[in-house]
């Protein structure tokens, strides 16, 4: 620690790069950071790998026998498990956003001219990558226990697109929740909401088996059209207006979450 003096001042000054370019580069750096940290966080890494497998086995072998859906239950339930895992994965994003916002590091990022949007975009990008990994795992387990979709390449592509959009939307929503929460524990509460939402939908049981008073909610909440779209595409069934409603819901949530996060970030850092 003796020669602190040497290079400290007269290095060439960094020029100010264009806003958009540095925002993009910063987002990538931030995403790399979030992924490294998620990998090191053993609890999180294990849970996000174990959860898809456990849920898959739970639904198919413990509940599946009692549920009549007209198809093999594993085939019916895959979209539901995908969304459940996506919700859980996104909720971890809420926690890590809150952790950043309540710690000292956000001030350092801001004093280094890292835009708030880049910080959040990094979290969201990492969330998407993590969720895609657990999606692949869900499909892997599903195939092992008898999931046989009849989708063509285009159906697969469309299904992947809808799922990606859902993950993106729910990850930005999680980022907004992360900005709103005052403690990581409070942010963790978000996982209850997103893990609960698939239940009153067609994810695990057909809606017409539920009491009538809940039909309205179950049929029109955002998860249902996403589930119906994925199921329809994967099984080669008619999807009707589900894709349109699914995309509309996801885009709506996405746009609202991005806008709200922008406002919240400014409020939280004022």
């Amino acid at each position: 620690m003796s020669e602190l003096t040497a290079s400290a001042t007269h290095a060439p000054r960094l020029r100010v790069p264009s806003r958009a370019r540095s925002a993009l580069a910063d987002s990538a750096t931030m995403a790399g950071r979030c992924l490294r940290m998620a990998r090191r966080n053993l609890d999180v890494a294990l849970t996000s790998l174990a959860l898809p497998v456990m849920l898959m086995l739970l639904f198919v072998y413990l509940f599946g026998g009692a549920i009549q859906t007209g198809t093999r239950y594993v085939t019916y339930v895959v979209p539901g498990v995908l969304l459940l895992c996506a919700g859980f994965g996104a909720s971890m994003t809420a926690v890590s956003v809150t952790t950043d916002m309540t710690g000292g590091i956000i001030d350092r990022f801001r004093s280094m001219d890292v835009a708030g949007a880049s910080v959040l975009a990094g979290h969201v990008a990492a969330s998407v990558v993590r969720n895609l990994a657990s999606t692949v795992l869900v499909f892997g387990v599903a195939f092992l226990i008898g999931f046989r979709p009849s989708a063509g390449p285009l159906d697969w592509l469309a299904a992947a697109g809808v799922l990606l959009l859902f993950i993106l939307a729910i990850s930005w929503l999680a980022a907004a929740v992360g900005l709103l929460a005052r403690s990581p524990e409070a942010a963790g509460g978000f996982s209850f909401l997103v893990m609960f939402l698939p239940y009153p939908s067609s994810a695990f049981v057909p809606i017409d088996t539920m009491p009538t008073w809940i039909h309205g909610f179950a049929a029109n909440q955002p998860v249902t059209p996403v589930i119906e779209t994925l199921r329809g595409l994967l099984l080669g069934l008619p999807v009707g207006t589900s894709p349109v409603r699914a995309v509309a819901w996801c885009l709506g949530i996405l746009v609202a979450s991005v806008a709200v996060s922008g406002v919240l970030f400014r409020l939280r850092t004022a």
């Binding site: 960094l14 940290m37 001030d107 350092r108 990022f109 004093s111």
Partner: protein, 325 residues
């Protein structure tokens, strides 16, 4: 950036709700110097730093840092400064090396340059060995060093250190001091806040004392000590009644008092004539004062004399208790 002043602020005001945190703060920090902003908790130190580091906006007043306006040229200011706050701003789940490389990338260095810079800083801060381990396995002192290193990645012209040694043990504190001293010699402007008079005395070229959102004193450590006449006459009193009597007679001039030990300190220039006169004044009957001693004034005395409350009772921000008794 050839201006003589690295930091220049006039009339900074800031309120949070009804709480007035800064009430017209003026500052001037010449390039390459170390300024210590000294004050108790709640004096407005952190708010001042946040305004100068572009993280908060003043309600009134203007400030230029590294030659740029903190509001109008915010991005340019951010390219020239670094801020190391009170809470370690490094990721525990990343290794030290990854933390520094990330900061390098965010500071705009290309990948290989960021890697080189990280290795260089780890070596400089004596952290090469720990570099590849996650920071959560590091000691508090090591983290603080990493924190400082992270602040230097982008070669800042102005370095803000907000209470850099709060909560550190003596050894780590000295390590931080060494870093600051080294930086000061290299032409970097250092703006540090502290609650420790000793720290300000050791490190700073100039000290600005902040209390209740106002600058109550500004000068070199030596100048500030002169404000309480340079010396202090400590009186040891015979009993509680004598203590009360002397305290009453001295009133506003008391710079320290300890009712438990029956001692009172008062500013003096140390001359025999003045000491004699003081003793006669407070104790005309020659019964109240048992012993006396003349000490060199410390910054603690200065602080007490300037703010009306001692530096080491930071939690009583609005306390209006008079200096003596």
């Amino acid at each position: 950036m050839q201006e003589a002043l690295a930091i220049e602020a006039t009339g900074l005001e800031k309120s949070y709700g009804t709480l007035r945190v800064l009430d017209g703060v003026d500052l001037e920090v010449p390039r390459g110097s170390v300024l210590a902003l000294l004050g108790p908790n709640g004096a407005g130190k952190t708010t001042t730093v946040r305004i100068l580091a572009t993280l908060a906006r003043a309600d009134a007043g203007r400030a230029r840092v590294a030659g740029f306006d903190v509001v109008a040229d915010r991005r340019q200011v951010r390219r020239h400064i670094s801020l190391t706050g009170q809470y370690a701003a490094v990721d525990e789940l990343q290794t030290g090396e990854e933390n520094l490389r990330m900061m390098g990338r965010l500071a705009g260095l290309p990948g290989p340059a960021a890697r080189r810079r990280a290795a260089e800083l780890l070596a400089r801060f004596d952290l090469t060995e720990a570099g590849p381990r996650p920071v959560k396995t590091w000691s508090g002192g090591m983290r603080r060093r990493l924190d400082l290193a992270a602040g230097l990645v982008g070669d800042p012209a102005v370095l803000f250190l907000d209470e850099p040694t709060t909560g550190l043990d003596l050894r780590s504190r000295q390590a931080v001091w060494q870093v600051v001293t080294g930086l000061a010699g290299s032409g970097v402007t250092v703006f540090l806040t502290t609650q420790y008079l000793e720290e300000a005395d050791q490190l700073a070229d100039r000290i600005v004392v902040l209390d209740g959102g106002r600058v109550v004193a500004d000068g070199t450590p030596a100048e500030l000590k002169e404000q309480v006449a340079g010396q202090r006459l400590d009186l040891e009193l015979a009993d509680a009644a004598a203590f009360d009597q002397v305290a009453r007679r001295l009133d506003g001039r008391v710079v320290r008092s300890d009712p438990g030990r029956l001692t009172i300190g008062v500013a003096t220039d140390g001359s025999a004539a003045q000491v004699r006169a003081l003793l006669d004044e407070v104790d005309p009957a020659r019964r109240a004062v048992d012993r006396f001693a003349v000490q060199r004034a410390t910054l603690d005395d200065v602080f007490l004399a300037l703010t009306g409350h001692p530096a080491d009772r930071p939690d009583h921000e609005h306390e209006k208790e008079p200096a003596g008794v």
